[in-house]
Symmetry: C2
C-alpha cells in the first residue's frame, strides 16, 4: 500500500494480470487522466445503472472526454435482477455495436451488480477485452471490484454463471459514497468488518473504535477502504481461482446466501451485506456451539454490527422466513458444496477463521431451528 | 505423438492445463473407460445434436454407463444457428439442472457447433467446470476441439462472444466420420490441408498423393488427423490466447468468413470449410499478386482442393454474392482487424505463411473485383 496525501494505491499481484486499485477522493473527476496515462488510445463502453448515472455519469463522461477518451454509455435498471442473461446480451450488443476491439475496455460505473455484469461481458466479448472498475458502492470498493470474479444469477442460484476476468484498473472514489443510501453503506460495511473477522483482529478492534469516522468520510474512510482492498488483494493473489484459501472470503456467506434466497433476493427485505452481517454472527455462534470459539466473540461481533445499524439475527428480517428445511436446501445448493459434503467458514475467534469441509448438516439444521426461535 | 497400434496420442502442452488428444477407431465405445481412468467419480452432461445423436449417442451413453459414469444427455438442433445465446442458456440450465459441480464435466459429442457451444457453457457454469470433447466431424477433430476457443455468434458477427476454456481430454474416434455427409468431410479436409499450407509443405505433398486413402478411412486417415492435431497443438502451445503466431491458423479465414457472412451463414450455399478452401486459394493468389509468392503455388493449391471436390473460386458458390464493398465491410468487421489496420495471413509459398498486418484495403478491393469477374 503506497500513500500519496489522501490517495492510496493497492497493487493486486497476479503476474501479467497484476493491476492497481487507486483509492481516494475526487477520482471520478480524475478518471480520464488516470486511464489515459495507463492506456493511451483506449476507447470505453461505460456501463452504469439509473441511480448512479443520475449522480455521477456526467462527471465521469466529462472527465473521459477531457482526456480524449471516446465513451459509449449504457444505463441499466438498478438492482440484483439486472444480473441476468438478457442484460448480459444487452451489454455485449452494446459493446459490439460501439465497435470496440480487444484492446478497448468495458468500464463499470456502479455497485457490485454493474461490476459483476459488465465484467462478465468484458470477459466474453471477443473472448476477453479490457475492463476498468469504477466502483461506487462501499461493497463494490472493498470487495466485488477486486479479484476478477464476475457473473450473473440463474434460476438455480446466485452467481452460478460467470468467468474469472481481472480488471486492468480499479478507481475507488471515496467521495461518491456520500450519495449512497445509508442502508447500502451499512451493507458494504459488513464486508469491511469481515476482513477483520477473517484474519485481521487489530483491524476489527480499530473499526470498533473508529466506525463513526468511516461512516462520516475523510481519512478514516480511506483507511478502512484501503485496508479492505489490501485484504482482498492478498486473498486473491494467494488463490486467484478460489481453489483454497480464497474461500475464507466467504465467511458469513453460506448462511447469508441462504437468507437472500429465502427472501427471494428481494432487496426491500434483505440486501447482500445484511445477509452477510447476519451470516457472520451465525458463523461465530455456530463455531461457539461446536466448541471451536468462545461465545464472547460471537457476542462482540453481534454487538458491533448492531451498533452500526446492521441486522444481526434472523428475526431482524421483515416478513416470514421459509421453514428450516428450505433454508438447508439453499445451503446445500450454494456452490461451496463439493460432492455432497457441507463446507463452511468457521472460526476459532475474532480474526481466526478457517475453512471446515466436514460440517454435519444435521448440526446446522438444529442450530438454525433454535436460532430462528430465539 | 505416441503411437499404439492404430491409436495415436497427441499431447497439448499448456502447463497445468495440458491434455491429451486420443485418436483412433472405436473410441466412442471406449469413452467410458478412457474417462473413468483419468477422472474417477466424474459425472457428465452430454451435449449433442440430432444428427449425431441418431448415429452415436446410444453407443456413447452405453459406454459411459458401463464405466459407471452418470450422464445427462441434451440433444439440440443441428446447424450453425444453434451457436446463439438462447441455446447457451439452454445448455447452462441443463448442466445446473443436472446438479453438476465444478469437478464434473460437460461432454461435447458433435461437430464444431456443439463443441463451441458446450465449451462456452463449460467455461461459464460455476465460472469454469470440466470439459471433454468427443468431436464427430473431421473439422472438429483436427481443429475446433483442440485449443480451447469456444463461443457463439452475435448479430455483429461470428464467434464474437466466448471464452478460452481448454478441454481436459479429446477423444477423436476416426470411425464416426463414416456417417459424416461427404460434403462435411470435404469441408473438414480443407482445414487438414491448411496445416500443410501454413508450415508443413511435406504434409501438403503427402496429402496430394494420399488424399483418397484419407477419405476412405484406415491408417492414412488416422495419420492425417493426428498430423492435423499435432499442428494445431503446436500452434496452441506456442500462443494459447492468440496474441501472435496462433493467428497463422486463420490462413484463408478472413476471406472465408467474409464469404460466409455474404451468404448469410446459409449452410446450403456455403459451409465453413468451403469458405476456407476458397479463402486459402484467394490468399495464395493475393500473395502472388503482391509478388510475395509464385502464381504456381496458388495454382497447385487450387488444383488439389478442386480435385477432392471443394469449391475453390467465388463463382462456385450458388446464387448471387453481394457487391465487393459489402464483402470488404465483412472483412473489416472480422475480429482480426485491430485499430483499423487490415490484418491477413499471406504466404511466400506452400508451407510458408506469415501474418501481414499492413495490407492495403484498396488492393484487396481491386483484387476481389477482378476475381469475382473471372
Ligand atoms: N464479484 C465479486 O467478487 C462480488 C463480491 C461481493 C458481492 N458481489 C455482488 O455484488 C452485488 C452487490 O453489490 P452492491 O451492494 O454494490 O449492489 P448494487 O450494485 O445493487 O448497488 C446497491 C444500490 O446502490 C445504488 N448505488 C450504488 N452506488 C451508488 C452511489 N454512489 N450513489 C447512489 N446510489 C448508488 C445502486 O443503484 C443500487 O441501487 C451482488 O450482486 C453480489 O453478488 C460480487
Ligand atoms: N473453436 C475453434 O477453434 C473452431 C475452429 C474452427 C471452426 N470452429 C467452428 O466450428 C463450426 C463448424 O464445425 P463443423 O463443421 O463440425 O459443423 P457442425 O457441428 O455443424 O457439423 C456439421 C454437420 O455434420 C453433422 N455431423 C457431425 N458429425 C457427424 C457424424 N459423425 N455423423 C453424421 N453427422 C454428423 C452435424 O449434425 C452438422 O449437421 C463453426 O461454428 C466454426 O465457427 C471453431
Ligand atoms: Zn459478499
Ligand atoms: Zn476454420
Amino acid at each position: 500500500m503506497t500513500q500519496n496525501s489522501l490517495r492510496e494505491t493497492v497493487r493486486v499481484d497476479l503476474g501479467d494480470r497484476s493491476y492497481d486499485i487507486v483509492i481516494g477522493p475526487g477520482l471520478i473527476a480524475e478518471a480520464g487522466a488516470q486511464i489515459a496515462a495507463r492506456e493511451p488510445g483506449i476507447r470505453c463502453a461505460v456501463v452504469t445503472d439509473r441511480n448512479v448515472a443520475a449522480a455521477h455519469l456526467d462527471a465521469l463522461l466529462g472527465s473521459l472526454a477531457a482526456s480524449g477518451i471516446e465513451a459509449a454509455p449504457l444505463v441499466l435498471e438498478p438492482g440484483e435482477k439486472t444480473k441476468r442473461f438478457d442484460e448480459l446480451v444487452h451489454v455485449c450488443d452494446h459493446v459490439l455495436g460501439a465497435r470496440l476491439e480487444r484492446g478497448d475496455a468495458v468500464l463499470a460505473l456502479g455497485g457490485g451488480v454493474i461490476g459483476d455484469l459488465s465484467g462478465f461481458a468484458a470477459g466474453i466479448v471477443r473472448r476477453g477485452m479490457g475492463f476498468i472498475q469504477v466502483p461506487t458502492s462501499l461493497l463494490a470498493q472493498v470487495d466485488s471490484s477486486v479479484g476478477g470474479k464476475t457473473g450473473i444469477n440463474s434460476s438455480h442460484g446466485k452467481n452460478l454463471i460467470g468467468v474469472f476476468h481481472q480488471p486492468d484498473l480499479v478507481l475507488a472514489d471515496t467521495d461518491v459514497l456520500d450519495t449512497l443510501p445509508i442502508r447500502e453503506f451499512r451493507a458494504g460495511y459488513a464486508e469491511v468488518a469481515k476482513y477483520g473477522l477473517i484474519d485481521r483482529p487489530e483491524f476489527f478492534a480499530w473499526l470498533e473504535k473508529n466506525w463513526r469516522d468511516v461512516f462520516s468520510g475523510g481519512e478514516a474512510r480511506i483507511r478502512a477502504i484501503a485496508t479492505g482492498c489490501q485484504a482482498k488483494a492478498d486473498a486473491v493473489a494467494a488463490d486467484e481461482r478460489e481453489h483454497g484459501s480464497r474461500a475464507l472470503l466467504n465467511l458469513g456467506h453460506t448462511f447469508g446466501h441462504a437468507l437472500e434466497a429465502a427472501t427471494d433476493y428481494d432487496g426491500r427485505r434483505l440486501v447482500h451485506g445484511e445477509g452477510v452481517a447476519i451470516g457472520m454472527v451465525l458463523a461465530h455462534e455456530f463455531s461457539a456451539r461446536m466448541n471451536l470459539a468462545s461465545p464472547d466473540d460471537a457476542r462482540r461481533v453481534g454487538h458491533h454490527l448492531r451498533e452500526v445499524g446492521l441486522p444481526t439475527v434472523m428475526s431482524d428480517i421483515e416478513g416470514e422466513l421459509p421453514p428450516t428445511d428450505i433454508l438447508m436446501k439453499h445451503i446445500a445448493q450454494d456452490k461451496k458444496v463439493r460432492r455432497g459434503a457441507l463446507t463452511f467458514v468457521l472460526t476459532r475467534g475474532i480474526g481466526q477463521s478457517f475453512v471446515a469441509d466436514d460440517v454435519p448438516a444435521d448440526e446446522v439444521f438444529r442450530f438454525l431451528e433454535e436460532k430462528r426461535a430465539s
